[in-house]
């Protein structure tokens, strides 16, 4: 078992003919993900990847023709909100948006709309999802993780790779890795993901990789304290980040004294989470559990 993506995922790639879209589609297919369609407005009727994947003009057409149930978005920031609306309107259940740099007011409208439609969004500004051995939806390098019993959820990209890689070195594998993204307004929170991991029978331990900014980690800590039966190992990036500065991610900023690494570590530790001092230590703590 796993969460969100697996062998039955039927993926449509929005922005499939772009440089990023095509490159990562190749990688996803090589990993074994079932990529059933692509969408690029104006390029419907073409085929990509040795004529194996049909391209459609709209998500609706792609879904009708191929039965896609998940979408991954590689379109530029200025068109990305539209791409999410389109996927939700076409009834796609899970929408994974990789794009970085979407205006935050666009994301607030997207969230309000998705809450009505019932589609789930993961991201934006995220590396996507990886269920080792089954499916890769996004850009997480497949080679750095092995199947196992640890659920991983993170706001970051390469930092997550670092953790997966350290786990693999010790022979520890993952059920699913969920990159929820580094934007201030996103689709799926730590809390949402923890609930799914708690319910997933194969996930036995969970890793939560947070960073400065916002209060998502604190809400997760509350849930862990009240409801979670599985052990959680945590890490928070940005101990040394100066206040008031945006640290690369749009959401990684300490504002008005809120969202510091220290308060997040404290909240997690109070909830019984073992918080690692550096990423490699996460793997060692997992080993000892």
């Amino acid at each position: 078992m796993s969460i969100l993506v697996n062998k039955d995922t039927r993926l449509v790639v929005q922005g499939i003919t772009g440089r990023e879209g095509l490159f990562h589609t190749t990688q996803m297919v090589a990993y074994g993900t079932k990529v059933v369609a692509g969408v690029t407005p104006g390029k419907g009727g073409q085929w990509v990847l040795d004529d194996k994947i049909p391209v459609f003009d709209t998500v609706k057409k792609a879904v009708e023709t191929t039965g896609a149930n998940t979408s991954v978005i590689f379109v530029p920031a200025r068109f990305a909100a539209d791409a999410i609306f389109e996927a939700a309107d076409a009834g796609v259940e899970l929408i994974v948006c990789i794009t970085e740099g979407i205006p935050v007011q666009d994301m607030m409208r997207v969230r309000a709309y998705l809450d009505q439609k019932g589609s789930r969004l993961v991201g934006p500004n995220c590396p996507g999802l990886l269920t080792p051995g089954e499916a890769k939806v996004g850009i997480i390098p497949g080679s750095i993780a092995i199947p196992g019993n640890v659920g991983v959820v993170s706001r970051s990209g390469t930092l997550t790779y670092e953790v997966l890689y350290a786990m693999k070195q010790l022979g520890i594998g993952a059920t699913t890795t969920v990159g929820i993204g580094g934007d201030p307004v996103n689709g799926t929170s730590f809390l949402d993901t923890l609930k799914m991991f708690e319910e997933d029978p194969q996930t036995e331990k969970v890793v939560l990789i947070g960073e400065i900014g916002g209060t998502d980690e604190q809400k997760a800590a509350q849930y862990i304290a009240d409801h979670m039966t599985k052990p959680v190992v945590g890490f928070i990036a940005g101990q040394t980040a100066p206040p008031g500065k945006r640290m690369g991610h749009a959401g990684a900023i300490v504002e008005g004294g809120e969202g510091t690494a220290a308060e997040k570590v404290e909240a997690l530790e109070a909830a019984g989470v073992k918080v690692a001092k550096h990423p490699e230590e996460i793997a060692h703590i997992l080993k000892s559990l």
């Binding site: 935050v104 607030m108 850009i139 930092l159 307004v185 960073e211 040394t240 500065k245 550096h278």
Partner: protein, 380 residues
């Protein structure tokens, strides 16, 4: 991106918010002219992107054009919290009866904009929030519905605004909401919004922060950027698509990915060092980008060692190494360099770098320890 008071108020006025008559001046002579045109008492206001200008002496009343000129001369030669004053706003002085606070910002946790009002206008809202949070009245705005009239009445009632001003107050609320929404602001604030003795509702101060990610659709706002508030290296970094923030320490960092870049800084600190910067080179690591990153990091004379931490992932480690070597060829750094490359073909990458006299490391902890030792002069 922060906007100046005069820029923010011009945007507010465009959407129907009443503001005092006035104009911005770059010289004292201009300030005098504007004061003469306006006639009567004026306020001369420093246009700098810091808070608390009034308290710092950057806002002065003037009773005549001569006085306005003298005040402008003084203010234009000031530095407020380290920033030079290049312009002053000369506004008609209002006859203030009461000062209110009105603002809109993004409530991250609620994932919605929130409009806030307080009868405690003119003082820093953060201070009100700390000391008397019950005096801030809030209403969340549905991003699909927009601000509704009843919400402005909730606010007016909440701050005990006399009923005769509700209509004017509501108009200001809608103007501010439109300015916020149409400009992709993350903050739009009027502090104070005043009720004058004549019964007018007027925005005498204005502040806006616009979402950097939305500037592509607001070229006229993008042009308003004030480069004084940014370190020159940060401006240079932006040109190359690098995300750079200067810090106080002596170990330069070059990392791919924001989360990993923050973590690299943290691990340096954990092992007794101090990071000199945050730098995310983003995906890939072509020679041109890496060279720009090196130049920016090394332009800081404090830097005594550089730590390069690249998690290759899909980018191959040997390609990253070649990019680094080409960039070193160009920049010729004189401080010790510690490199850690992980991912596909990482061993080959490490071998290439070791041959070029770089210190290499397998793990982040090892890299941090070596960089700290190198910065302290005990390299290798």
């Amino acid at each position: 991106m922060k906007l100046h008071e005069y820029q923010s108020k011009q945007i507010f006025a465009k959407y129907g918010v009443p503001i005092p008559k006035g104009r911005v001046a770059a010289t004292a002579a201009e300030a005098r002219e504007i004061a003469a045109e306006l006639g009567g008492r004026v306020v001369v206001k420093a246009q700098v992107l810091v808070g608390g200008r009034g308290k710092a002496g950057g806002i002065k009343l003037a009773n005549s054009p001569e006085e306005a000129e003298a005040q402008a001369t003084a203010i234009l030669s000031m530095k407020l919290k380290g920033l030079p004053v290049r312009k002053v706003l000369v506004d008609e002085a209002a006859h203030i009866a009461t000062e209110i606070y009105l603002g809109i910002t993004n409530d991250r946790a609620a994932r919605k904009p929130v409009m806030m009002a307080s009868a405690e206008g003119g003082v820093e809202i953060e201070e009100v929030a700390r000391k008397t949070p019950e005096k801030i009245i809030k209403t969340h705005i549905d991003p699909l519905l927009g601000l509704r009239g009843y919400q402005t009445r909730d606010l007016a009632l909440g701050i005990d605004l006399p009923k005769e001003h509700w209509k004017a107050f509501s108009k200001v609320c809608f103007g501010l909401w439109e300015a916020y929404q149409k400009s992709d602001a993350t903050l739009a604030e009027i502090n104070p919004l005043v009720v004058t003795e004549e019964g007018q509702v007027l925005a005498v101060d204005g502040k806006m922060i616009v979402d950097d990610n939305a500037l592509f659709r607001h070229p006229e706002i993008a042009e308003m950027r004030d480069l004084d508030v940014e370190a020159p290296e940060e401006i240079e970094a932006r040109k190359y698509g690098l995300s750079y923030i200067k810090l106080e320490g002596d170990i330069g960092c070059m990392v791919n990915g924001a989360g990993l870049a923050m973590t690299t800084m943290d691990v340096i600190k954990l092992y007794g060092g101090e990071p000199a910067n945050f730098l995310d080179i983003g995906g890939g690591a072509n020679a041109e980008k890496v060279a720009a990153a090196f130049r920016i990091i090394l332009s800081e004379p404090n830097v005594k060692a550089v730590l390069i931490n690249i998690f290759g992932g899909i980018t191959r480690g040997d390609e990253v190494a070649k990019g680094i070597l080409a960039a070193m060829e160009e920049v010729k750094p004189e401080v010790p360099m510690v490199a850690r490359i992980v991912g596909t073909n990482a061993e080959e990458g490490r071998r290439l770098l070791a041959n070029a006299d770089m210190i290499t490391a397998d793990t982040l902890v090892e890299a941090a320890q070596k960089a700290v030792a190198a910065a302290k002069g005990g390299a290798q």
